[in-house]
């Protein structure tokens, strides 16, 4: 009789025992780490955490360098019902402080390289643990390698992880995703990608970025294997493919920008990744001209899968297998049908469902919908709301802010834009207000507005319009860099004596946009 699997710790335990000798990781240097090693190490780290009084319901923050130890810390947390959150080491200290304030981690794991950055933050230095030292390895090695009993007490409704995303008030939001959310997600991934224990996943996505949820859980929680790829390698796509080729990955998932980047730098060859079965992309639209280039290289032997899903709904909600017909059309790829265990509504301006093919806001319901934003009931209540069509019982929908239309004949959703000021850059969600708030925090900026000017279907420029006491662009950018991550920095800065105002006395963003679009 099979075991009742109700949390991710138990699932990993089952997978690791079954695949004990099989590789969990193939590293870029060619070395292989079997499941039994990760299982033992994560059990030891879990027991170490218990001695530190870190228990179910606590949060643990990680500066994750994709080392075996760092992945093992994530698994150890899952085994205890401790919520992990991987924070972006490239974020400025000011933003890391905000994420610390929100998540209040009981401990913070880092490697030695990023230790100094953490010391600069407001985090209590005595609670920092450097997982890259020999001292840590020796400490961990002294603990039992058996699964701790605490794993049995982790219920599916407990948060598995927090994933931070941009917030319009200037504060990032920590999306709460539960064990049950992820278990459902793994079931969907296993079926949709027909994952077997012979599959080899790339983990190109940084672990603070939502797409990595697919890499991590679809591989290590199904008995497949994963190739960790660090940022210094992804920066150089030629090197990336050279290193990946001998490892024979079968499933790739990244933002389209990563593939466009590799294509534009002429780093992908027809024969690269000859074992690849599926190239999957999501997080933003794939520019059609570049998609056609990739299709020419790989289309005859690799399945192309376009996926869609907000962070708030556990990474992916819908998928679409790309066909020649899609390639021939000029419009963006469809988002696909919603996953079978999901429901959706498309709500129009009047607050009621729209007809087929009419544009409205996509609202998602089902077992992938997360619990909201950590420590942020106001923002949670704005977008995690009762399904307006259900009056008899509780049914929470997530209002995605994405404008879509649904073609019932094809059973396909199409992306049509955003209802707010959120944009995507390299797949990262950016609320333009977060940049405005950061600019507003600079003492010499008297007034500002940030606008986004699309240059084509999928790309655009962020333009900061300023009334400023200082008119030195490089000084302003370097000050802004201390508050927001580099992917949020404006492409251009324009200076004004007075910013245009509308009838209500507010900055007229529409007029500014017209100025640049004209």
């Amino acid at each position: 009789m099979s075991q009742y699997i109700y949390n991710l710790g138990l699932l990993f335990n089952e997978i690791a025992i079954k695949n004990s000798q099989k590789p969990a990781f193939k590293k870029l240097d060619g070395s292989i780490i079997p499941y039994k090693e990760i299982h033992k190490k994560s059990n030891q780290i879990a027991r170490f955490l218990i001695t530190k009084c870190i228990v179910k319901g606590n949060v643990v923050a990680i500066f994750n360098d994709k080392s075996i130890d760092a992945y093992s810390i994530m698994i150890a947390c899952l085994k205890l019902g401790v919520t992990y959150t991987n924070l972006d080491t490239n974020s400025p200290v000011d933003r890391i402080n905000k994420m610390i304030d929100i998540s209040r981690p009981a401990t913070f794991f880092t490697n030695t390289r990023n230790f100094a950055k953490l010391i600069e933050s407001k985090y209590d230095n005595t609670c920092i643990i450097d997982y890259s030292t020999s001292e840590f390895s020796e400490t961990i090695a002294s603990f039992s390698v058996e699964l701790p009993n605490e794993t049995l007490n982790v219920t599916g409704n407990l948060p598995a992880y927090l994933m931070f995303t941009s917030g319009s008030t200037g504060f990032p939001k920590g999306v709460v995703i539960t064990h049950a959310n992820v278990l459902n997600f793994i079931g969907w991934a296993r079926s949709t990608y027909q994952i077997t224990e012979d599959d080899v996943f790339t983990n190109i996505n940084p672990l603070h970025f939502d797409n990595s949820v697919f890499d991590f859980y679809s591989s290590l929680f199904t008995g497949a294997c994963m190739i960790p790829v660090t940022e210094d390698v992804t920066k150089n796509p030629r090197k990336l493919f050279e290193l990946l080729n001998p490892l024979n990955p079968t499933i790739w998932f990244s933002v389209p920008s990563m593939l466009v980047y590799a294509l534009k730098l002429r780093a992908i060859n027809e024969g690269d990744l000859s074992f690849l079965r599926i190239v999957s992309f999501g997080g933003e639209g794939f520019p059609k001209n570049q998609l056609r280039n990739l299709w020419t290289l790989w289309g005859s032997r690799v399945t192309f899968l376009n996926v869609y899903g907000p962070t708030e709904c556990t990474c992916i909600c819908s998928s679409h297998k790309v066909t020649q017909k899609d390639i021939d059309k000029d419009e963006l790829l469809p988002l696909g049908p919603m996953a079978s265990n999901f429901g959706h509504l498309i709500i129009g301006a009047q607050g009621v469902s729209v007809d087929d093919n009419e544009i409205g806001e996509l609202c998602i319901t089902g077992p992938n919908v997360g619990l909201g934003y950590f420590n942020n009931p106001v923002k949670t209540n704005e977008v995690f709301v009762q399904n307006p069509l259900i009056l008899t019982h509780r049914d929470i929908i997530y209002k995605s802010g994405d404008l879509v239309r649904y073609d019932a004949c094809e059973n396909l959703l199409y992306f049509c834009g955003r209802k707010d000021n959120q944009i995507k850059r390299m797949g990262y969600r950016i609320e333009l207000e977060e940049i405005e708030n950061a600019l507003g925090a600079l003492p010499y900026i008297e007034e500002n507005a940030v606008v986004y000017i699309k240059t084509d279907d999928t790309n655009g420029r962020i333009i900061a319009c300023l009334r400023s006491g200082i008119v030195d662009e490089s000084k302003i950018i370097s000050d802004l860099e201390k508050i927001v991550p580099s992917y949020m920095l404006p492409n251009e800065v324009k200076f004004y004596e007075h910013l245009p105002k509308n009838q209500n006395g507010k900055i007229d963003r529409l007029q500014l946009k017209n100025e640049f679009e004209g």
């Binding site: 210094d232 992804t234 920066k235 150089n236 030629r238 090197k239 920008s257 990563m258 466009v260 980047y261 534009k264 730098l265 002429r266 780093a267 850059r425 390299m426 662009e473 490089s474 950018i477 370097s478 860099e481 580099s486 992917y487 920095l489």
Partner: protein, 81 residues
Amino acid sequence: MRTGKLAMDKVNQILVKTFKISSEEAQKNLTMNDVSRWDSITHMDLIVSIEDEFQVRLSGDDIAEMITFDAIRATLTKYIS
């Protein structure tokens, strides 16, 4: 086709504009790791700007080498001389 100092001045201008650095910094031999704004987005912008400005099509091998300011200048010299 521009050669010599004029071309290098133009390269420096592209570096200043792409990475939002000062013209003094653009003249140094900074690497991908030295320049905080040198990520995949700006790297792509850099390559496209150079190709547009000098009307050249860089090879994949050469692009792979262009990860320091000096390497960028050396590669471009090869194309325009």
